[in-house]
């Protein structure tokens, strides 16, 4: 080999890098401040307003516990608490049992079609929550299509979806994907040779599952039981849509109704109720963190197959189990979505007349002509697109600072990024309402879309973190070091090395943010004003006026947009991965 012993004179090494005029920690500090202020900020006005005798925008007022006394003296409050606990218990038991069974069936047995089911079972996560609820109402609700078939046409005793058990069932269907993902991740992380050992000791599949698999899953099960229970405490859509006919209120809907129909505006006891719920939910999640290891804080759809693992043989139950699983998906997702479409195109939902005789485009016409409804679509798209992109950028920067920098306060960032999703949406909404009222910068966003966009984005930024962080953790830290030793400062490393490598994760985070922002509504039910309508709240308010068709049409639009974004996202992601 030949080696040039002398360098050509025209090519001289560049000057060694010099110190920058602004240290990297200045920018890092700014990102840290923005994240922490957005996440923690809203809670101070919330607590403050619950302790004042008058709304904070009125002069005067003293510190008092009157709001809490009012709350505790209200029999409706206690009724709502009882309903919520009953609902949460029912939904949690159903969801944990169902989700675990589904996960074991798909991950550990030779169920036919298990690969397809693995995808289909998490579909409810991307279906807009209100769309699913309205679809269920259209089919299984008190006046729903199938309910009518059974009661009016077949004269059989019929279920009541508007009862607490009925709502628990829907609550379980909505939360089952969370259990499914947690348990599946736990199964992927546990060594299946433990199960093989039991089999070689002569245990039959059922015994292996009950004596080895389930006991191994205990930490994961405890973990998601607490999580589901906490999620159920804050559910707003189910009681507002399903509970209304039977006058059943849950905690969140009680707060919402007291707020919007109270005699005096902005009652302090709603803030008090929000503070109480915040304390309870935070306590539950702290308990959960204690119970489970730090790794299980993230629900990851692990793609790790069992390798050479031979699945448990279901024997003659193979096909019945597979058909049952298919029927479950059909009944809980596919039929309600079809019901949604049906509801948006008929004059009335009835089984007495064939639907094609009742066909009408009125609902769609209303959506196209009513400026409020139209605005809700464009506003939601704006928030989902712009807010989603901005959130992903902010969270990406914060994640890099939290895990790949020497910033002194970096360890506080990860909890700050996880917390918002743990806080009930209505509480965050009330918090932002008071924040915008109390602080002058808040006034800038109070009467326009920004306020709602910020609340929705803060509430859901956890999702972006949960997608970005695992991808970042897989990037070799020597990549950063190689760039640093090449002379690049921290921000250059982030911009030129880490973010480009993270591109697929950033896109996935954006798609998830877009879908969630499009469907989410609880943080903004207290913030919406004429002109700043978003899809979810508009659907809620239109439904409460008794107008059904356009709500179904909006839900269909939501589902179609989500489907398009998912397809586009998957295609771009595939191209990114190939590159």
């Amino acid at each position: 080999m030949t080696i040039m012993t002398e360098r050509p004179p025209d090519v001289v090494g560049p000057a060694p890098p010099r110190a920058r005029w602004l240290p990297a920690s200045a920018g890092q500090g700014l990102v840290w401040f923005v994240v922490v202020a957005l996440v923690v900020g809203p809670f101070f006005p919330l607590v403050y307003s619950s302790l004042r005798s008058k709304p904070i925008y009125l002069p005067g007022g003293t510190f008092t516990l009157a709001a809490y006394r009012t709350l505790f003296a209200d029999p409706l409050f206690w009724q709502a608490v009882r309903n919520t606990v009953g609902f949460a218990l029912g939904a949690t038991v159903l969801a944990v049992a169902g989700g675990t069974a589904l996960a074991i069936l798909c991950a550990r047995t030779n169920l036919p079609g298990r690969k397809a089911y693995r995808l289909l079972l998490i579909a409810p996560i991307v279906i807009p929550p209100l769309g699913l609820i309205v679809g269920w109402l259209a089919i299984y609700g008190p006046g729903g299509y199938l309910t009518q078939v059974v009661s009016t046409n077949l004269h059989l005793p019929v279920w009541n979806l508007s009862s607490i058990p009925g709502m628990s069932l829907l609550g379980a269907v909505i939360t089952i994907p969370v259990v499914y993902l947690t348990v599946q991740a736990a199964l992927a992380g546990t060594d299946s040779s433990l199960e093989d050992a039991a089999r070689s000791a002569g245990a039959r599949p059922w015994r292996v599952i009950t004596r080895v698999t389930l006991p191994m899953l205990r930490p994961a099960l405890v973990n998601c039981t607490v999580l589901i229970f906490a999620l159920c405490l804050e559910i707003l859509g189910i009681p507002l849509f399903l509970g209304a006919p039977s006058n059943i209120d849950f905690y969140a809907s009680y707060l919402y109704r007291s707020w919007s129909s109270g005699a005096n505006p902005d009652p302090a006891f709603v803030s008090a109720g929000a503070v109480l719920l915040l304390v309870v939910v935070s306590g539950l999640l702290i308990l959960r963190a204690r119970l489970s290891g730090s790794e299980q804080r993230f629900i990851a759809a692990g793609a790790r197959g069992g390798g050479t693992y031979r699945p448990l043989d279901l024997g003659r139950w193979r096909w019945p189990a597979s058909i049952g699983l298919g029927a479950y998906i059909g009944v809980t997702c596919v039929i309600p979505l079809l019901g949604l479409v049906l509801m948006s195109c008929v004059k009335a939902l009835t089984t007495l007349v064939a639907p094609w005789h009742l066909f009408t485009a009125d609902a769609w016409h209303t959506v196209a002509s009513d400026p409020t409804l139209r605005r809700s679509i464009t506003n939601s798209l704006l928030i989902a697109g712009g807010g989603g992109a901005a959130t992903v950028l902010l969270v990406a920067a914060a994640t890099l600072i939290a895990h790949r920098s020497g910033f002194p306060l970096r360890r506080t960032l990860a909890p700050a990024l996880i917390y918002p999703r743990a806080v009930p949406g209505v509480i965050l909404g009330i918090g932002f309402f008071w924040t915008y009222l109390m602080f002058t910068p808040g006034a800038l966003v109070r009467n326009n879309l920004w306020g709602e966009a910020i609340a929705l984005c803060v509430r859901n930024l956890t999702l972006a973190y949960v997608v970005i962080y695992p991808s970042l953790a897989r990037i070799n830290a020597e990549f950063d070091r190689a760039a640093r030793s090449s002379g690049a400062g921290w921000w250059t490393v982030a911009r030129r090395i880490l973010l480009p490598i993270l591109r697929p994760a950033l896109l996935a985070a954006f798609v998830l943010m877009f879908i969630t922002l499009l469907g989410d509504y609880d943080p903004v039910v207290f913030l919406q004003k004429p002109g700043t309508e978003v899809l979810g709240v508009t659907m809620l308010q239109t439904w409460q006026r008794g107008v059904v068709g356009p709500v179904a049409a909006l839900a269909v639009i939501q589902v179609v947009i989500v489907a398009i974004v998912l397809l586009l996202g998957a295609r771009v992601l595939r191209r990114l991965r190939r590159a």
């Binding site: 040039m4 012993t5 990549f479 070091r481 640093r484 030793s485 090449s486 002379g487």
Partner: protein, 348 residues
């Protein structure tokens, strides 16, 4: 190019001392190797020089530049070092040329000058034809050369190598070793090299620093370290070694003689030793054995294995077993064994 001075470097991780008062100097254009088992602190030392770890105490300076010490801790990106990492850390989203150009671009070098320098450096590592490839399209050896090209592209003050051969197979490793050494000499790069492989250390270094448990045990040229290891750990870690313990007597010419039960006539040892008893190290290839009946000590071959270029024998001398390398085939059974004067050396 400047030299690197490391003074009294100490570092602890959660109470465990990983570096305990390490001091050494790497002179201009010198190739110095930090050798030791995993966990000995060699990589920590390198990362302290690179700026990815901050020592608890001590000072690191490069020429007149203080990297660490005197309340200075210069960030890694301002130390002007070239580093080749164990994983190579070639950025997967950039081509070979973009990888090599990166340190030049962050130094705000003009585009034409960058292009010329990238071409020059890639030609140097014989990768000119692969400039447009992405890292996953390269073999392990090619990736290693990209990493090296990227490290030397901005003409760094010092080159740091963190086990750069550990991901290569044995044949390629030997070639890469020769090639890197030639390059280092040709460019006159001051180099600090970290490895746990004694062959790499012996064949490439101007000087070797043997580390263990956060301490610097021995410093010297490869020959000095191999011939006079000084410490038992060094003797064992760098090559194979036999150890014999016995009484020390003064020998002729100011040397010493070690007397054991097996070697009643004594073994002439180079160097001096204080105290009545001592331990010596003898390399297996320095021991002479023969099937004759005259001279040396009675011994017997217990086990023989053929290693291609030599035989490895396990030999019993009385109650002691010794390893012996010899090019001569010997049948198991009685042999004569001799330790020539001067090959043994005292160890702690």
């Amino acid at each position: 190019m400047p030299d690197i001075r490391v003074d009294h470097l100490s570092k602890s991780f959660s109470g465990t001392k990983v570096l305990d008062d390490i001091s050494f100097t790497v002179k201009d254009k010198e190739f110095v190797t930090l050798l030791g088992p995993s966990g000995c602190g060699k990589t920590t030392t390198l990362m302290c020089i690179a700026g990815f770890q901050t020592p608890d105490h001590g000072r690191i300076a490069c020429g007149d530049d203080t990297f660490v010490g005197d309340r200075i801790d210069r960030p890694a990106e301002q130390r002007n070092l070239g580093i080749v990492f164990q994983s190579y850390a070639i950025w997967p989203h950039m081509t070979v040329a973009q990888n090599v150009a990166f340190p030049l671009r962050v130094r705000k070098m003009s585009k034409p000058a960058t292009r010329a320098r990238v071409a020059e450096v890639l030609a140097l590592v014989e990768l000119g034809a692969l400039a447009g490839r992405y890292p996953h399209q390269l073999s392990g050896g090619q990736q290693q050369r990209v990493a090296l090209a990227r490290a030397i592209a901005p003409s760094p003050a010092v080159l740091l190598l963190d086990e750069p051969f550990s991901n290569l197979d044995a044949k390629l490793r030997e070639r890469a070793r020769d090639w890197l050494q030639e390059l280092q000499h040709a460019l006159g790069l001051t180099t600090v090299f970290v490895t746990h492989d004694q062959d790499e250390a012996l064949s490439m270094s101007d000087r070797i620093l043997v580390m263990n448990g956060g301490h610097l045990l021995r410093e010297g040229t490869p020959e000095e370290v191999y011939r006079r290891p000084g410490a038992r750990f060094v003797a064992e870690f760098v090559g194979q070694c036999n150890f014999l313990t016995g009484a020390v007597r003064a020998g002729p010419d100011g040397g010493a003689v070690l007397i054991t039960a097996e070697f009643g006539d004594g073994i002439a040892v180079q160097g001096r030793h204080d105290g009545p008893r001592g331990t010596i190290a003898v390399r297996p290839e320095d021991i002479e054995i023969s099937s004759g009946v005259e001279g040396g000590t009675e011994a017997s071959v217990l086990h023989a294995s053929y290693l291609g270029d030599h035989y490895h024998y396990r030999v019993a001398v009385g109650a002691t077993q010794l390893s012996v390398h010899s090019s001569r085939p010997l049948a198991p059974g009685p042999v004569r064994l001799r330790i020539p004067p001067g090959v043994a050396t005292f160890v702690d």
